[in-house]
C-alpha cells in the first residue's frame, strides 16, 4: 500500500515536471483566481462590517457606554461624573473616558433671514470637553468645513452633515438645507430655553447616525441647565475591541451608584441586522464561489485527464493498478490546489490587500478596505484543496475504470 503510494508520487512527479508547463501554469492560475474570487467577496463583506463597527465605536459610542440606572429620580444622572471619570481612566487598558450631557433638541435655521422659510431639525445635542473628546471619539478628524470646538467656546456649535445639509448628506431634504460655517442657528432645549449659536464646523463621518448629531461645549450646556458634575453618559475607550465585558465588571465596582453598562454592540441596533445580513450574504457567496471553483477545477482536470486517456490505458495495459493511477492524478490535483492556494495567498497578502489598505474603496457608507479574517482564510484554503482533491478524484476514477482498449484506441 505504502509502496503503491510512493509509485503514485513518482508517477505524479514525472508527469508534473515533464508535461506542458504552460498548461500547468494556466491550471494553477485558474485556482489562484478562484481562490482570490472567494476571498475577495468575503473580505469585502468583512470590510463593510468592520467599517460599520468602527464608525459606531469611533463616532458614537466608544467601546463601552455608561448610563444612569434611572430607577429613581436621584439616579437620573451619573453623579460626581468628574470623580468617576478619573476612576475609570485609572483602570488598566482604558485609553480614554469622556462625559456627555445629551439633549433631544430642535435646531432651526433661517437661510434668508426673513422669517419666511425657517427650517428645523430634531437632533441629539451632546456636550463635550473638546480637548478630552478626541481621546475617545474621532469626530474631530471628520470636519469637512470650518473647525472643531475648542475648550472655552461659548455660543458655538458643530453640526453633522445630516443636520446642516450638503456635503453629501444621505437625507439632505430632511436637513436644515445647507447651513454654512459662520451662519447662525437656533437651538430649542427641552427646558424651554432657546439659544442662538454660530456654526463653527460641519462634520461628515459617513455614518448616517453619527452625522445626525450636534456638539456644543460642556460649559455651554451646564450654563443652560444649571447642572454641574453630572453626566447623561460616559463613553469609555479600551485598548482593544472585543474584550469589553472584562472592563464592564471592573467599571461596575468603581461606585455605589447603579449604572447601566452597554458595549458598542448593544447600540448597533438596526445596524446589527445589516451586519448580520452581510455575514449571511458572505456565506452564500462563499458557497457559490466554492461550487464554481469546484466545477471549474473539475472541468480543467477532466479535460487534462481526458487528453491523457491513452496514457492511462497504456499504464493499465502494462499492469498498473487502478488505485495507483487514481492516487497519482489526485496528487497532481492536490498539487495544483496547494500551489494555487499558496500563490493566491501571496498575491492577496502582498499585492491586493496592501493596495486596498492604501486605497480603500469609497462607498456611500464609508471607506471600505478588504479585511481577510483568519477563519475565512483557513476555511477557503482547506476548502480549495479539498475541492481540488475531489475534482481530481472523480474524473480519474471514471477514466481509470474505463475499458483499457477504449482508453487507448477510442
Amino acid at each position: 500500500m505504502i509502496k503503491d503510494f510512493f509509485i503514485a508520487c513518482w508517477l505524479s512527479f514525472k508527469q508534473v515536471t515533464r508535461s506542458n508547463k504552460k498548461s500547468i501554469v494556466m491550471t494553477i492560475m485558474v485556482v489562484v483566481l478562484l481562490f482570490i474570487n472567494i476571498l475577495f467577496v468575503a473580505s469585502m463583506m468583512s470590510g463593510l462590517i468592520t467599517t460599520i463597527d468602527t464608525q459606531v465605536i469611533n463616532y458614537q459610542y466608544g467601546n463601552i457606554v455608561i448610563e444612569p440606572s434611572k430607577e429613581s429620580a436621584s439616579d437620573a444622572y451619573i453623579k460626581q461624573a468628574d470623580r468617576k471619570l478619573e476612576d475609570i481612566r485609572s483602570i488598566p487598558g482604558v485609553t480614554g473616558a469622556v462625559q456627555h450631557y445629551k439633549s433631544g433638541v430642535k435646531i432651526t435655521y433661517d437661510q434668508k433671514k426673513e422669517g419666511t422659510n425657517v427650517k428645523d431639525v430634531s437632533a441629539y445635542l451632546f456636550s463635550i470637553i473638546p480637548s478630552e473628546e478626541s481621546r475617545v471619539l474621532k469626530v474631530n478628524s471628520k470636519i469637512v468645513s470650518g473647525r472643531y470646538l475648542e475648550d472655552g467656546d461659548r455660543n458655538k456649535i458643530v453640526l453633522g452633515r445630516e443636520i446642516s445639509g450638503g456635503f453629501g448628506a444621505t437625507f439632505d431634504m430632511k436637513s436644515l438645507g445647507g447651513v454654512n460655517v459662520g451662519e447662525d442657528v437656533y437651538v430649542y432645549y427641552p427646558n424651554g430655553i432657546s439659544r442662538k449659536y454660530e456654526v463653527v464646523g460641519i462634520f461628515a463621518t459617513k455614518s448616517f447616525l453619527a452625522d445626525a448629531q450636534a456638539y456644543v461645549t460642556k460649559d455651554e450646556i451646564e450654563d443652560i441647565s444649571g447642572q454641574h458634575d453630572l453626566a447623561d453618559e460616559i463613553i469609555v475607550r479600551t485598548a482593544s475591541t472585543g474584550d469589553e465585558d472584562e472592563y464592564i465588571s471592573k467599571i461596575e465596582n468603581i461606585s455605589e451608584q447603579k449604572f447601566k453598562l452597554y458595549t458598542w454592540k448593544n447600540y448597533l441596533g438596526a445596524l446589527s441586522t445589516i451586519t448580520n445580513s452581510f455575514d449571511f450574504v458572505k456565506l452564500i457567496f462563499y458557497f457559490i464561489g466554492l461550487a464554481v471553483s469546484g466545477a471549474s477545477i473539475f472541468i480543467i482536470i477532466y479535460i487534462n485527464l481526458n487528453n491523457q486517456r491513452k496514457q492511462i490505458g497504456i499504464l493499465k495495459a502494462i499492469g498498473m493498478k487502478n488505485r495507483i493511477i487514481i492516487v497519482s492524478y489526485v496528487l497532481q490535483a492536490f498539487l495544483y490546489g496547494l500551489l494555487g492556494v499558496i500563490f493566491g495567498r501571496l498575491l492577496l497578502e502582498y499585492a491586493i490587500l496592501p493596495y486596498f489598505i492604501k486605497h480603500p474603496l469609497e462607498l456611500p457608507m464609508g471607506y471600505v478596505s478588504l479585511i481577510v479574517e483568519r477563519a475565512d482564510l483557513m476555511r477557503t484554503e482547506i476548502s480549495m484543496i479539498v475541492v481540488s482533491i475531489i475534482a481530481g478524484f472523480i474524473p480519474s476514477l471514471q477514466i481509470a475504470r474505463k475499458n483499457i482498449l477504449d482508453s487507448i484506441f477510442k
Binding site: 508527469q15 493499465k316 495495459a317 502494462i318 499492469g319 498498473m320 483499457i404 487507448i408
Partner: protein, 225 residues
C-alpha cells in the same frame, strides 16, 4: 528451446461487440501454443486477429470460452488478478509504440519493475540491460519525441520483456514502420525467441513475416482456418 507442454490453450473463444448491429468477431476460436514457440496470427483486416490477441492478453474480456495459461483459467480472474497477471506474466507490444511522452527510455522500461516494487536502482539496472539487448544503450535518457519510430518500438519491446513474461504479445508491431526498421524489430523477436526461448504470439497481415515464425495461424471471419 521449445517445450512439449502447451503454455497457452484457447477453447471455443467468442467475442461479440454490442451495437445496433452486434458484431460477432470471434466465433469459437480454439488453439494452443507451446512454450518457446513463435506463432503468428495472420489474416485480413477485420478477420478478428487483433481482437483475439486482446482477449489472450487480458486487455479485453471474452463473452465465452477458456484461456488457460499453464493450467490456470484466466477468464474467471477478477480485474485485480488480471492486472497482476498482465504485469507479471505477459508483455504487450502495441502497434503504435504506446510510450508515455514524459518518460525517458530507461524510465519507460523500468516502470513494470517499479510496479512490482523493485528498488529504483535495481529497476534501472535491469532496464539498462534490457535496452542494451535491444541495442538502445545509447538512448537511455532520451524521450520518445527524441527517437525514431523503430527506436520507440524497440523501447516498447524492452518494456514488454523486462518482467521476463511467459508470453510476449505483439499486435502488428511493424505496421507503422518502414521495411528496414520492420526487419530490425522482427529480427529482434526472432533472436529473443531463439536465444531466450521467449514465447511470442505476433499478429500481422504481412505474408513475408511468415519466415520469422515457427507457425502461422490463419484467421478468417472470426474463425481459424
Amino acid at each position: 528451446m521449445k517445450e512439449e507442454k502447451n503454455i497457452i490453450t484457447v477453447n471455443n473463444l467468442h467475442k461479440t461487440y454490442p451495437g445496433e448491429v452486434p458484431l460477432h468477431v470471434l466465433k469459437g476460436v480454439s488453439f494452443s501454443v507451446k512454450g518457446g514457440e513463435f506463432v503468428a496470427i495472420m489474416g485480413r483486416s477485420g478477420s478478428g486477429k487483433s481482437t483475439l490477441l486482446h482477449q489472450l492478453s487480458l486487455l479485453d474480456n471474452p463473452d465465452e470460452g477458456e484461456i488457460i495459461v499453464e493450467n490456470k483459467e484466466l477468464t474467471t480472474l477478477n480485474e485485480k488478478e488480471k492486472t497482476k497477471y498482465r504485469l507479471q506474466s505477459f508483455g504487450y507490444v502495441f502497434q503504435e509504440y504506446a510510450l508515455l511522452p514524459e518518460f525517458t527510455a530507461i524510465e519507460a522500461v523500468s516502470l513494470p519493475l517499479i510496479l512490482q516494487h523493485y528498488s529504483m536502482t535495481e529497476s534501472r539496472k535491469r532496464a539498462q540491460a534490457m535496452l542494451k539487448l535491444v541495442q538502445l544503450e545509447d538512448r537511455l535518457d532520451h524521450f520518445p519525441s527524441e527517437m525514431s519510430g523503430g527506436e520507440q518500438q524497440r523501447v516498447a519491446v524492452a518494456r514488454a520483456l523486462v518482467n521476463n513474461p511467459k508470453i510476449l504479445f505483439a499486435d502488428e508491431p511493424c505496421a507503422n514502420l518502414d521495411s528496414e526498421t520492420s526487419k530490425v524489430i522482427l529480427d529482434l523477436f526472432k533472436r529473443l525467441n531463439k536465444e531466450l526461448g521467449q514465447t511470442i504470439i505476433l499478429v500481422t497481415h504481412e505474408p513475408e513475416d511468415e519466415k520469422y515464425v515457427d507457425r502461422v495461424i490463419h484467421m478468417k471471419d472470426g474463425i481459424l482456418q
